[in-house]
Amino acid sequence: MKEAGSPSRFPSSDPQLDTARHYETPEGIALVMRVAGPVVRAWAWAIDLAIRAGVYLLISIPFAYLGGIGTAGTLIGFFLIEWFYPVVFELRSGSTPGKQAMGLLVLHDNGTPVALSPSLIRNLLRAADFLPFLYGAGLVTMLLNRDFKRLGDMAAGTLVVYRDIPPERHPLPSAAPVALPGDFTGEEQQVLLAFGERAARLTRERRAELAGILSELSGREGEAGVEKLYAYASWLARGR
């Protein structure tokens, strides 16, 4: 059983503290959403602010030569951008350029892409989050809320999560593949593969220590155990 693209390698049922939220679809597929907290969202917002400031500048310079009409145009432009910049981008790709840069994404609570009305709600309510000063209310609610939601997110039923980026793959050490004895869950296979990929960057002692945990499985101790686990990983990577 392969669980392709699962962002959390070890989804567990333990009540451990985590920022990952699990949602199970009716088909029995477990979606994992990693909610994003105030720090990364603040910087994403700062990037968006810089972009908007640049656009305002670009708009106001040509309009400045047009007198009264120009002022009107500038103000209308400011209004439209201030209120609909996030909405347009969220509907297009799920995230504003700032969020995109920080690897964030806006979703509904159930993991579906954000639709027009929730996006409008969460962005119009920025006015409430902004009070009393520079998102003070939003910051406090994000610190209080389990899913780091600001008021707009609560009203719209949306989550800001990390985009699932395929993890960086490292080459496996070359070893003659050896078949795994017995059945292993997807998670267990993944952890064996992860060992194969990451062991090279561990210290020799740590590597042997880790392989020692599985000495029952590999029937080897120390460096030989490590080699055996490499062989399993190489067998798993080849595909059965």
Partner: protein, 489 residues
């Protein structure tokens, strides 16, 4: 100090996610962390106030400067809570000289402006490294890590935002009559109310943000360490062992212990050896120290009655009285509504709880898949151990007793299980019956596929259409089973 006991989920995370984990930790354990911070910061703030009683701004700077003094206890407490053994607050404070005093001078002078303060603090406070070793450790930990500086900057901005929000909120809440009067006084008079207000706001916002900042840095450190030392792989391996060799897993867990705070282990054991009476006496002595005292002076406004009679005419007085009685009426109505709502809520909760209790019945065995089993398709448990050894005989026994549904379910699960385990068919966990059938037809010989198709059809008719098959049909399937999969094992 075993990874099995971690109260925080360890998995590969990027630095931003690590900070978020820290924020989740700070939120979860906010009150102990907050109290710990205040326990040291409040006495010190009193001291600074006494020293700079004329210049609250200087006192605020001092309070800010001495942050590295009150942050180590939070870190120490977190490092213990991480492994499921939260300490009592006074225990943490008592041990402060052990961890908090380490490299304090450096922390308060040239390292005070390090943007990575929170990230590197565990190296000094928890690992107790210094000099060259510390520098080496930090160079390894800090390779390609930039988020800690952004965390510090964000913490600073968050403090600013919270403080200004707090002040603005106060300002907005002030009655109109008081405002313009105070504004001039507030802004112009040095050492006036506004500076004291700023001082209080400083203290409050720093105390609120500190747990998040310290926990954020700690989580960064933790994530980086777990990445460098592959904690997640260790946890995964342990789980694997636990599932396959439940008895040996325990031994392995005992053999391998991971020490986060080695220098403290000894001290902690020593502390445990003191007998209770002695410890209590010692605690009293420590607590008698001035540092643990807390003296506060609070001023407040009280309405003493108006000094002059209002000169309003009788008409306006009557209007006001009318408005007042109207207001009272509205208040009475509101109170009634609140009570009504409370009763409704209570009734609804009782209804839900009673309903839940009544609706809870033990589920038939074998239908629900326990978690962490190797193969589960469409919620059906397909492990060998969950199936009877002599499957066809078990099916026939159930038929004899008239349990057609159970019999067919067993047969279907058995067939799927054989496909998956014996023939290594790759069926995704979310596959529907039709998808399973298509997979079988694509790979397995025609006879087996035909059998599986027949079985699936009967099973689906029974499961979704409640059409009970005839005994002959199921018997036929049993015979075919034997020819397809061979006899019993």
């Amino acid at each position: 100090m075993e990874l099995d006991k971690l109260t925080v989920s360890i998995r590969p995370r990027n630095a931003w996610e690590a900070i978020d984990l820290g924020f989740a930790m700070a939120r979860h354990w906010f009150f102990p962390l907050w109290l710990l911070w205040l326990a040291l910061a409040l006495p010190l703030s009193l001291l600074t106030l006494w020293l700079f009683s004329a210049q609250p701004a200087l006192a605020a700077v001092a309070l800010w400067w001495f942050k590295p003094l009150y942050e180590p206890p939070l870190l120490f407490w977190l490092s213990r809570a991480l492994f499921g053994e939260p300490l009592a607050l006074r225990q943490v404070l008592r041990q402060w000289p052990g961890y908090g005093g380490r490299q304090l001078l450096a922390n308060l002078s040239w390292r005070r402006f390090s943007p990575n303060r929170s990230f590197y603090m565990p190296v000094a406070v928890l690992e107790g490294l210094k000099g060259k070793v510390r520098r080496h450790r930090i160079s390894v930990l800090g390779r390609d890590q930039h988020a800690a500086s952004w965390l510090t900057l964000a913490g600073l901005l968050f403090e600013l935002i919270l403080e200004l929000s707090f002040l603005l909120l106060l300002w907005v809440m002030l009655p109109d009559e008081l405002r313009p009067l105070d504004l001039q006084q507030l802004l112009l008079a040095p050492g006036g109310t506004v500076e004291w207000l700023l001082y209080v706001a400083d203290l409050v916002t720093m105390s609120v943000i500190a747990p998040f900042y310290v926990a954020g840095g700690f989580a960064l450190y933790l994530t980086r360490r777990s990445e460098l030392e592959a904690w997640d792989i260790e946890i995964g391996f342990r789980r694997l062992m636990k599932r396959r060799w439940p008895l040996h897993g325990m031994v392995a867990g005992l053999l391998l212990t991971l020490i986060l705070l080695s220098p403290f282990e000894g001290e902690r054991l020593q502390a445990a050896e003191i007998d209770r009476g002695q410890a209590r006496a010692e605690i009293q002595v420590v607590l008698a120290d001035d540092v643990f005292g807390e003296r506060r002076q609070e001023g407040y406004w009280e309405y003493l009655g108006s000094s002059e009679r209002s000169s309003q005419s009788g008409f306006w007085l009557r209007v006001i009285a009318l408005l007042e009685s109207l207001g009272r009426l509205v208040a009475r109505l509101g109170e009634f509504l609140l009570w009504f709502g409370a009763v409704l809520l209570l009734a609804w909760l009782t209804y839900r709880i009673v309903g839940d209790l009544r609706g809870k019945r033990p589920r038939p065995k074998g239908e629900v898949a326990p978690k962490m089993l190797p193969v589960v398709v469409s919620g059906l448990d397909l492990t060998w151990s969950s199936l009877p050894r002599q499957l066809v005989r078990a099916v026939r026994e159930q038929l004899d007793e008239g349990y057609y549904r159970e019999a067919l379910s067993l047969l279907y699960r058995g067939a799927l299980s054989r496909e998956v385990h014996r023939h290594r068919l790759e069926i995704p966990g979310s596959a529907t019956e039709w998808e399973c059938m298509a997979l079988v037809q694509a790979v397995r010989p025609a006879e087996e596929a035909a059998f599986f198709r027949q079985l699936t059809r009967l099973w689906m008719q029974l499961a979704y259409d409640h059409a009970i098959p005839s005994r002959g049909q199921v018997e036929g399937l049993c015979r075919e089973w034997e020819s397809v999969f061979g006899g019993e094992e």
